[in-house]
Amino acid sequence: MIRVQNLVKNFGDFPAVRDISFEVKEGEIFAFLGPNGAGKTTTIKMLTTLLTPTSGKVELDGLDPTGQQNEARRRFGIVFQDPSVDDELTAYENMDFHGVLYKVPRKLRAERIEWLLKLFELWDRRNDPVKQFSGGMRRRLEIARGLLHTPKILFLDEPTLGLDPQTRNQLWTHVKRLNEEERVTVFLTTHYMEEADRVAHRIAIIDHGRIVAQGTSAELKAQTGAETLEQAFLALTGATIRDEDASNVDRMRAMSRMWRRRT
């Protein structure tokens, strides 16, 4: 379903992704793990047409995301690392907006929105503006939205960041169910090793832009002689802490908080 060959991305002199190759089969849940700044999000951006690779080949369901952009875009749904819903619109309007952009016919659109919002337990709140939603509800809405156009692949970039254990647990249950019922191929990244251990069929570990190991959780543990996936992860990527600079987004959030207080 996803095939990546010798993928490279440089930002100026900095190599963010250096020559990675992997394959994800149809109906598989594939976890992409790595420390901060390892190249996870850059890879997802290249897979989802947001960034053009410096070199290498990507194939989504047999399509090339750089050449057949719009065809490829119809094939996947994505939940980004940072929120991407419109706060001023209601849950239903956010879904409807997505459905129109993806050309889901009106009747089918209404049906699927209802089904997905019910599945993710948001139907009762469908007419509330998203700005009133909690972090967990927003996440659920984003996943529901990503599935609206019946994609073949679902990308989840750290979908459980900042959520409480109950919400995380429920979210993965939904994802597993959809994977089994709709045969959606899932490509996810997370920092919670036990989550990857629980839901993923196969795992790749990326560090400094390179894939350092891939296989099932059991294979990775065996390879490193570790008891848990977390130990295996640390054995493969080392124990040094990677600092990321405060991004523009963090600064903007601080500014918007100040702004809201004033008006």
Binding site: L50, Q69, D82, F97, L101, V249
Partner: protein, 249 residues
């Protein structure tokens, strides 16, 4: 087509729902009308130029459209920072369609804001010369709206955060407004000021709007106003679309 509509609808919904912003943005035109219109009115009259409020109103209407339109375009930065832009950019919709939907939405919001200011001007004592000029006035309002939404979008495509926003306001938008002849008659202005006004696209918007609403003689001529505005709008939409299509996240 549906994509353009839903993008347009989104801008409109956001505008209607943020009443605080709507009311806040009416403060400035109101202040101009009251302070300048009534404050400078007697002097304007003594200088033999007639009713200043009547002269000023079209300028204030154009100003509110200019500010709202640029801001609508700049909102793109907001969408980028809060992630919603990604949602539209990964959708199977050409960038040009997204740009068109956004621009039409922003322009509609700007024209609506302009129409509210028209009502305020009427309340303040402004009287249009007749109904015949109103459709032409609307054409000018739409052109000014589209032109500056496209300009805002073009600028926002180049900026990744709000750091540069003040710079744009103070060194681009404010001069565009103050040097456009919105506040003073261009024909009596010193030569250098007239030259500057000639390269300021808003001058043509204000001039055309004033001619249409007041039934008075225009500085450049209505046909030239229309031609210049249409040409500059086309160029800015093209530049905006190009820069928007180059955005990488």
């Amino acid at each position: 087509m549906n994509a353009v509509y839903i993008l347009w609808l989104r801008q409109l919904k956001r505008y209607v729902r943020s009443r605080a912003r709507m009311i806040a943005s009416l403060g400035q035109p109101l202040l101009f009308l009251l302070a300048l219109g009534f404050g400078l009115g007697p002097i304007f009259q003594k200088a033999g130029q007639g009713n200043y409020l009547q002269f000023l109103a079209p300028g204030v209407i154009a100003m509110s459209i200019l500010f709202t339109a640029v801001f609508s375009g700049i909102e793109l930065i907001w969408d980028r920072q809060f992630g919603f832009l990604k949602e539209t950019l990964v959708a199977p919709v050409p960038r040009l369609t997204i740009m068109i939907g956004r621009t039409l939405g922003g322009a509609t919001v700007a024209v609506l804001q302009g129409l509210i200011v028209v009502l305020i001007c009427l309340a303040a004592g402004f009287r249009p010369a007749g109904v015949a000029g109103l459709p032409i006035a609307l054409v000018f309002m739409v052109l000014v709206g589209v032109m500056f939404t496209a300009l805002g979008t073009a600028i926002a495509s180049l900026l990744s955060d709000f750091q540069g926003f003040q710079l744009v306001m103070n060194f681009l938008v404010m001069p565009i407004f103050f040097l456009s002849g919105a506040l003073f008659p261009l024909s009596d202005a010193p030569r250098p000021l007239q030259w500057i006004a000639t390269v300021d696209p808003l001058s043509y918007g204000v001039d055309g709007l004033r001619g249409a609403l007041n039934g008075s003689a225009t500085h450049f001529g209505t046909a030239i106003d229309l031609a210049v505005l249409a040409a500059v709008t086309a160029v800015l939409v093209a530049i905006g679309s190009y820069l928007f299509s180059k955005i990488q996240l």
